[in-house]
C-alpha cells in the first residue's frame, strides 16, 4: 500500500548518543546550536532532535505525511511529495506566508526569522542522498539501528513483528502509521506516545480533508449565488418596471377618456 522510503524509529533501541543529530547537521551544513544536544529544539538550524524523557529518548523530525497539510495549504505549491515519499520544499516559490507552519499537525516546519529572505526549514529525508542510492544520514549514523531506513512496506512489517513478538516490551501502537493520515516516519515505543512528547489525539484522517470539505462547496456557492443574485435582480427590476408601465397605461387611457370633460368643467 505504501510505496517509497521511510524511517522507523524504535525508542527501545535508542541510547541517546546523538549521532543522528550530528549527522543531520553535517549533511545539511548546519551550524552548532546547543552544546548539549539533548536539550536542543527544532529550529532553522536543527532539523532533527533527540529528546530525553527519563531513561528514554525520542527523536523528532518531519513525519513526511502521506497527505501533508503543508502541501495542501501552501498557496503557491512550494511543498510537494517526491518519488520517495519525502515532503520537499522549494524556496524559490515560497512567498513566506507561513501557513505551512501554522497548519502542520506535528508543528515541524521552522523559519529563518533572522534573514531578510527567509526560508522554511525542515527535514527532507535526505532526498539528495536517496537519489544516489544511499540511506539517510541519520539512519547511516545510528549505531544501534534505532533509526531504521528502508522501504515503507518492509518497515511496517518490521514494526508489526516487533510489537507482536514482544507484546510486553512495546506499547501496542505504531505512531505515524495512521496519525493524520499516516506518513513515512514510524515510531514504536514502550510507553504511550504523548509521554514522549509526540502530538497525541490526532485524527486518523488526513488533515487536508477538513479543508476540502469546505473547499468542495465553492463551485456550488458560486453557481447557486450567481443564479440566485441574477434572478433576484431580474425579479425586482421587472417588478418595478411592470408597476411603472401599468401606471403609465392607466394614466394614458384615463386621460383619453375623461380628460376633456374635466377641462370644460374647470
Amino acid at each position: 500500500m505504501l510505496n517509497g522510503k521511510g524511517i522507523l524509529f524504535d525508542v527501545t533501541l535508542c541510547i541517546g548518543c546523538g549521532a543522528c543529530y550530528q549527522a543531520c547537521k553535517e549533511e545539511n551544513d548546519l551550524p552548532n546550536t546547543n552544546k548539549e544536544y539533548l536539550k536542543d529544539h527544532l529550529s532553522e538550524n536543527t532539523l532533527t532532535i533527540v529528546e530525553q524523557y527519563g531513561d528514554k529518548y525520542a527523536r523528532k523530525l518531519c513525519m513526511h505525511c502521506n497527505e501533508p497539510s503543508c502541501v495542501s495549504v501552501c498557496p503557491v505549491g512550494s511543498f510537494k511529495k517526491n518519488e520517495f515519499g519525502a515532503v520537499i520544499y522549494d524556496k524559490n516559490k515560497c512567498i513566506g506566508c507561513r501557513y505551512c507552519m501554522q497548519a502542520c499537525p506535528h508543528k515541524v516546519p521552522r523559519y529563518e526569522w533572522g534573514k531578510t529572505q527567509p526560508r522554511v526549514r525542515k527535514c527532507n529525508l535526505c532526498s539528495k542522498r536517496l537519489k544516489e542510492g544511499k540511506l539517510t544520514a541519520c539512519a547511516e549514523a545510528c549505531p544501534t539501528e534505532a533509526t531504521l531506513f528502508g522501504d515503507m512496506e518492509k518497515l511496517i512489517e518490521v514494526a508489526n513483528s516487533r510489537l507482536k513478538n514482544n507484546p510486553t516490551k512495546y506499547y501496542q501502537h505504531i505512531y505515524g502509521l495512521e496519525e493524520a493520515g499516516g506518513g513515512h516516519v514510524l515510531v514504536i515505543s514502550p510507553m504511550p506516545f504523548e509521554q514522549l512528547g509526540y502530538t497525541a489525539m490526532l485524527p486518523d484522517k488526513p488533515m487536508p480533508e477538513l479543508t476540502m470539505r469546505a473547499m468542495e462547496k465553492i463551485p456550488s456557492v458560486v453557481a447557486a449565488g450567481g443564479i440566485f443574485l441574477t434572478t433576484m435582480y431580474w425579479l425586482t427590476k421587472r417588478k418595478n418596471q411592470i408597476a411603472r408601465e401599468e401606471k403609465k397605461q392607466l394614466f394614458k387611457s384615463e386621460n383619453r377618456n375623461n380628460g376633456n370633460k374635466y377641462h370644460e368643467e374647470l
Binding site: N258, Y262, E265, L266
Partner: protein, 222 residues
C-alpha cells in the same frame, strides 16, 4: 491578552477623542441633543392638528360628514406639505358617478399630473368654486368637493382622531425616507437638501417632483 489590548486601544482612542472634543468645547455627534428634531419630521411645521369628525383616507384626502350621505372632501396636510407649487388640474362634474379608486381630482405639479383617488363610491354633488383652490393655507378647512356617498366603510378605509394623527406622522417619516432614498441619484438632483440635519423643503419637493410616479405608488394608494 492581545485581543483585549486591541479592543481597549480602540475604546481608548474613542474616549480620548471625546475628551479632545470636550476640550474644544464641542460635542460628539452621537451625544448631541438633536435627536427629537431628527426623527419627528423633516418638515418644519408638520405639527398635526386634525379636527374631530374628520376621516382620513389612505389616499390623503379627508372626509367630513355634513348630513346623512353627504360628505365634504379636501386634501390633508401631508399632501399640502409635500408640494407647495401645485395646482388643481381636473375636477369631476357634478352629477358624475365615482367609484372607489377612481380619480377624484388631479393635481398639476410642475409639468406632471398627480391623481388623487376617491376612497368612496358616490355621486359628485358639488365642487368648491369660491375659494382660490391653488393656495391652501388651512387644508382642513378648505373643502374641494361635496360627494353623496352610498356607503362609507369607516372601519377599514378611514382613520380618525388619534389614529389619524399617528398615521400622518408615520407618513411624514416615510416621506423623509422616500426623499432620502431618492436623493442618492445625484445626476437628477445635483446638489442636495440637507441643512443642519433637515432637508431643505424645496429640494425635498424637487425630489418628489422628479419621482412623482414613485410618490404616487408609495403614498397615494388606497
Amino acid at each position: 491578552m492581545v485581543a483585549l489590548s486591541v479592543v481597549l486601544t480602540f475604546l481608548f482612542v474613542i474616549l480620548i477623542d471625546m475628551l479632545v472634543l470636550k476640550f474644544q468645547g464641542k460635542t460628539h455627534p452621537a451625544f448631541e441633543n438633536s435627536f427629537v428634531e431628527d426623527t419627528v419630521s423633516i418638515f418644519d411645521d408638520a405639527k398635526i392638528v386634525i379636527p374631530k369628525n374628520m376621516f382620513l383616507s389612505k389616499s390623503h384626502i379627508w372626509l367630513k360628514k355634513l348630513s346623512k350621505g353627504l360628505y365634504q372632501i379636501g386634501i390633508d396636510n401631508f399632501l399640502c406639505k409635500s408640494f407647495t407649487n401645485m395646482s388643481f388640474n381636473k375636477f369631476p362634474e357634478p352629477g358624475n358617478k365615482l367609484k372607489f379608486g377612481d380619480a377624484l381630482f388631479e393635481y398639476r405639479v410642475g409639468n406632471k399630473t398627480l391623481k388623487i383617488l376617491s376612497p368612496v363610491d358616490g355621486i359628485v354633488s358639488s365642487i368648491n368654486k369660491t375659494e382660490s383652490r391653488d393656495k391652501i393655507i388651512d387644508p382642513y378647512s378648505q373643502w374641494q368637493v361635496i360627494i353623496q356617498a352610498e356607503r362609507i366603510d369607516a372601519q377599514n378605509n378611514f382613520l380618525s382622531g388619534k389614529k389619524a394623527a399617528v398615521w400622518i406622522k408615520e407618513e411624514f417619516k416615510r416621506l423623509e425616507d422616500f426623499v432620502y432614498a431618492h436623493s442618492g441619484n445625484t445626476e437628477l438632483v445635483g446638489a442636495t437638501m440637507y441643512d443642519g440635519g433637515k432637508p431643505v423643503e424645496s429640494v425635498a419637493e424637487k425630489i418628489i417632483e422628479n419621482y412623482l410616479e414613485d410618490f404616487e405608488k408609495e403614498f397615494l394608494k388606497l
